[in-house]
Homo-oligomer: 328 residues x 2
């Protein structure tokens, strides 16, 4: 019996989940739910219904796990608890500061419905969180470093697009090699925001716009750019389309720590990702955890879980004996 | 209440566990068991007993988790099942091909005793296994690569020491940079043994020994060296002591995989370790999993487990709310 996956929200992430389901033979796409007019939403999988989000209750017995693909910080705090009352759910809630509150809300709702809700699944939070947890448990005396990129930041790209005179923009976050090297050397450096990352913007200016002013507006924007060394490149709309259509991302989680009776030995644990497509990779993580949600639910477990609470074997489609033989 | 740890076997690994226990405030060293004469074993912790391995049964109620620090392929298959009848146990069994059999034996013994036994804990098997499992679950269409080093291989060092005319030897396994670069580029190369690693030996020859013959004997040794490009350096006993007393190690686990409806996007997941002390790092992993064994046992769980079966949160001394707030 394959795991029936529902997709709630059909943007970049929803399309990524659709592709990921095809790569996981023990899962199948059951339905796609949208808040738009379903007639206007064309999906890539033949024979699968696109349904209005309003009608989701009717699908209670047709979906094993619902993957909530709302990307926004305002949608998920409402959607995930609401849907966890009816379905096993997975989301990629990524507002780090609000995770404890979200956990409590989803936990109450999921327990009420007798379902599993796994929150904050993806790569950060998600796989990067796991890298941080494991390495902190091993090297108790040490320092954590997280670097992001090289990759497209949607939030920063949007911020640039809101500047007067900007027709289109793409912002890349880039880790600084010297900072990475210093961390890897075991020196435990204290790094400022400016020392860890640079920001590189590609901007299509509107005709007649004041480019010097745009550049100045970007570089001095509080929170987004003022604390970084930022490079602004003006390009044409054609160049933007040709060279910057993708959504690559990635990053590095490094823990540097000491062991021994006198802390005489240093160790570096590093986890890194280099992703051609941020939403497709996130989707693959979501589907693996959907498998775990399904299994936990079959065992009668309910409530909110995070990546920290799932035994890794639950993510795999392979039988336990095979995992032990081939991957241990 | 702190977790009372017993150490069974006091070599490099046992000493590492002793140091790791000091770094984990919720654990304490309860006793060290040795097959040697306890009077001749001096440990670094005041007020802790060194006990003959024969008397271990008397410590049944004084130890929460016993960490079995026998390094050898012949000791653990006997020791771990035997001791799992009496104690919660952890070992670092590393003969990959025999893990399924060891699992079954420990599972039966641990269940009989109502205990937990976690086997094959360390970095390979251990953390590298986790890296392989997680990345395989995420990128289902891809290839795995494991590189070891730069680090001292005890087995290969021992093999060189057995050659006629060799007074002392140290062997380093070194990953080949070109191979690493090819893997990281996403090219999915097929790599031969020779293309992945080189072997570098430092040898102290006995007086009057035939160095040319030693070098020839090393380079042509089947299984150990014949399939690799090997470099042999002759050094003095003083240089050996000064430059090669440590036990550094490490390595890289890389998965390269494709996503998208047409496999159009490539992704690289990389986990790497750079360790000044192989036994001390392994010990830190053992102590973290000892915490998990203790908790599972408190919950009434029994039987054999691997790193794949433990929810990551069980490894942490932090309360769940704190893990979620700070590490997710």
């Amino acid at each position: 019996m394959s795991i029936r996956i529902g997709i709630y929200g059909y943007g970049n992430l929803g399309r990524g989940v659709e592709a990921a389901v095809r790569q996981n033979k023990d899962t199948q796409l059951a339905a796609v739910f949208t808040r738009r007019d379903p007639a206007g939403v064309k999906i890539a999988t033949d024979g699968v219904e696109v349904v209005s989000a309003d009608k989701i209750e009717q699908y209670k017995d047709k979906i094993d796990v619902l993957i909530i693909c709302g990307g926004s910080a305002t949608d998920l705090p409402v959607q995930t608890p609401k849907l966890a009352k009816m379905f096993n759910v997975i989301d990629s809630f990524d507002t780090h500061a609000n995770i404890p509150t979200h956990f409590k809300n989803v936990d109450a709702a999921a327990k009420e419905g007798g379902n599993i809700g796994i929150i904050s699944v993806g790569w950060d939070p998600g796989m990067f969180s796991l890298a941080r947890l494991y390495s902190n448990c091993i090297l108790t005396d040490g320092s954590d470093y997280t670097f992001w990129g090289k990759g497209v930041s949607q939030g920063h790209s949007d911020a640039v697009r809101r500047i007067e005179g900007v027709a289109d923009a793409r912002q890349y976050t880039v880790p600084i090699q010297d900072a990475l090297d210093a961390v890897r050397s075991g020196k435990n450096p204290e790094l400022t925001t400016r020392e860890k990352h640079t920001r590189v913007c590609y901007v299509v200016a509107k005709e007649g716009a004041d480019k010097a002013k745009i550049e100045q507006d970007i570089k001095t924007m509080p929170n987004y750019f003022a604390d970084y060394d930022t490079t602004v490149n003006f390009i044409t709309a054609e160049e933007m389309k040709r060279d910057h259509s993708g959504l690559p991302h990635g990053g590095f989680v490094i823990r540097s720590g000491k062991t021994g009776l006198n802390g005489e030995h240093n160790h570096i644990i590093e986890y890194s990702l280099k992703l051609d497509s941020n939403p497709e990779f996130t989707s693959c993580v979501l589907v693996a955890f959907a498998r775990a949600a399904f299994r936990l639910s079959q065992e009668g477990v309910s409530g909110c879980k995070t990546v920290f609470d799932i035994p890794p074997a639950y993510l795999s489609a392979m039988p336990h004996e095979e995992i032990i033989s081939h991957l241990l």
